[in-house]
Symmetry: C2
Subunit: 222 residues, 2 copies
Amino acid sequence: MELYDAVLTTRAMRRYSDDPVTDAEIVHCLKAAQQAPSGGNLQPWQYLVVRDDALRAEVGALYRAAYDRYERTLLAVTPRFRTPEDELSWERSTAASRHLADHFGEAPAIVLFLVPIIDWTPSDAEGPMDIGPLHASVYPAVQNFMLAARDVGIGTALTTVARIRHDELRALLAIPENLEVAAVVPMGRPTGRFGVARRKPVSAVTHWDQFGTKRTDTEPAS
Amino acid sequence: MELYDAVLTTRAMRRYSDDPVTDAEIVHCLKAAQQAPSGGNLQPWQYLVVRDDALRAEVGALYRAAYDRYERTLLAVTPRFRTPEDELSWERSTAASRHLADHFGEAPAIVLFLVPIIDWTPSDAEGPMDIGPLHASVYPAVQNFMLAARDVGIGTALTTVARIRHDELRALLAIPENLEVAAVVPMGRPTGRFGVARRKPVSAVTHWDQFGTKRTDTEPAS
């Protein structure tokens, strides 16, 4: 499909049918991920694709336990809603996230993005240099992966809350201690439709030349 | 263009012609960025689009100073090359990065991605919860932006080394202290061609079910 349509309509899909996802489709998406940029083209990430039924169920149980804990905190800080649409959107989203937590292990494939835990701050005679976070060199790959999946009709969601159970997840999947789990991405055929997710308008978060300067006159409606 | 072609052929483009980039094109790309996922759909990022000639020149000077320092460290740890192709690729890449540093302020537009500097670790009675890095909620947006740019023939590069001059960059562009610069993305019409960048094969970094388990039998060549 057209890139722009795909980018606009790739949203978190959290309910999957029983239809399969093939290894070839997963590798197709990983090839897209692989072309993402990274600092110095170091490509620091690795992929772990969980397909085994029993392992997926165990990852699902860990995800659910992590989400249970997260949800209690999340729901305690429910935002104030400006409009009924905002409230409806919040309720739909939290219901979908709850559904995902209850069925995480049933996703046909679960893909983990791993990066090394390293000191990413070089030093010279002047001292340490902040050259940016290592995570700049993995999340673009996750996005490429999810876009390629959407292109072939597969739904995904970028999740990170499983890190609440990071050590158990590492032990379960034999992930070395010097790697962190940057993302856990379930994938499956969505039962719902892809569509443009609710977002703030671009104009609300865009500044021109200096922070705080808006240029609504030159900015097309968004 | 087709999503998959665009994803595979979006690579860092570091040499730009004098051809303009329009505000409408920039906003078109920002709309793509805006649809990226974020934790709790919080969309924590903001954009700062630098178009003014004098400001771009000053951002360029800061970028160059930052890159000069970074390059000295980088070149001191030049990797050993396994093949002449690897060496050629490294030389081309460092030459292109040097060119970008020398001409950064000449890019028709420079887009900064800003995120709040906040404690992203909620706590409950059990203690703090690692729900993943805040940066998971900005770099997918940067990737969407660069893909949308590539789709309309605009080259970009995801850079972070300007953080070596973070405070001066903030002062120059009136960026509040509670925001960090996650990425500085120059954009312009490339003088070279888009193409598939050199990357490790997917099979080299993919594990199946448990870390360390390879399944080359089911994995298409990559």
